[in-house]
């Protein structure tokens, strides 16, 4: 862990929130990807 000095909170918060936001959009996109793929398979099987 590098010494972040007096701005440790700011730097860590910037990294934390950014990584959180990126993870969120990846997770949401992935979840919808899987769901829609399953839904399409169901529709194609019936149709």
């Amino acid at each position: 862990m590098p010494d972040l000095g007096q701005y440790a909170v700011e730097v860590l918060a910037a990294y934390g929130v950014s990584i959180l936001l990126l993870s969120a959009i990846i997770a949401i996109s992935w979840r919808r990807y899987v769901r829609v793929r399953a839904a399409l398979e169901a529709v194609e099987k019936n149709g």
């Binding site: 440790a8 700011e10 910037a14 990294y15 996109s29 839904a39 194609e44």
Partner: protein
Amino acid sequence: MWEYANPKRFMGWTRPVLPWTFGLAGLCLAVGLIWGFFFTPDDFRQGSTVKIIYLHVPAALMAINAWIMMLVASLIWVVRRHHVTALAARAAAPVGVVFTLIALFTGGIWGQPMWGTYWAWDPRLTSFLILFLFYLGYIALWEAIEDPDTAADLTSVLCMVGSVFAILSRYAVLFWNQGLHQGASLSLDKEENVADVFWFPLLVCIVGFVLLFIALVLMRTRTEIRARRIRALEARARRA
């Protein structure tokens, strides 16, 4: 080239491309961010806050590029009516929002040590706030309209008109407040001012963000195409 914009062809060639794009994006981001966070020196003036550059600059860059990509896709949809481009524009918008939020948040945090306040009505930060509002309106319009082609047409026009007004807003904001942003030390257009130690990891991060954007847009576009196909199949089933 337009062949690849056919939904079926698109699904075909993106399937093998997608995991590679995600993998490379992850690799670049991991290398760039770890390099930047652990192995770069502090700036003599800004101290450790200079490390925020590895998130702030790529996110801000991609926030604007995402909108430009949506604008190009909208134009292609209006001129050539390729469904994939309209759906890609729709897929890119939420990703653009996330990048804009990151740029805003890291910009604000950076502001605390630099300007002594988390939020200043600095022209650049303000412009990103306005860009954020444009993204919200664009997404809301997509969500509100039932018919996918109508939605594609209307959002395309909104994107084009919005782009003009976004540029106008940028100049209006500059006129309104000359700003605190110290462009010299952190903006890309003056890259010669960024020392090499900071520049190389930053470059890797930028590549990582670009790849992540591409990967997310490809994945989300695939989702949109599938959702549209479900809709088309169901509409046909209803008629049978």
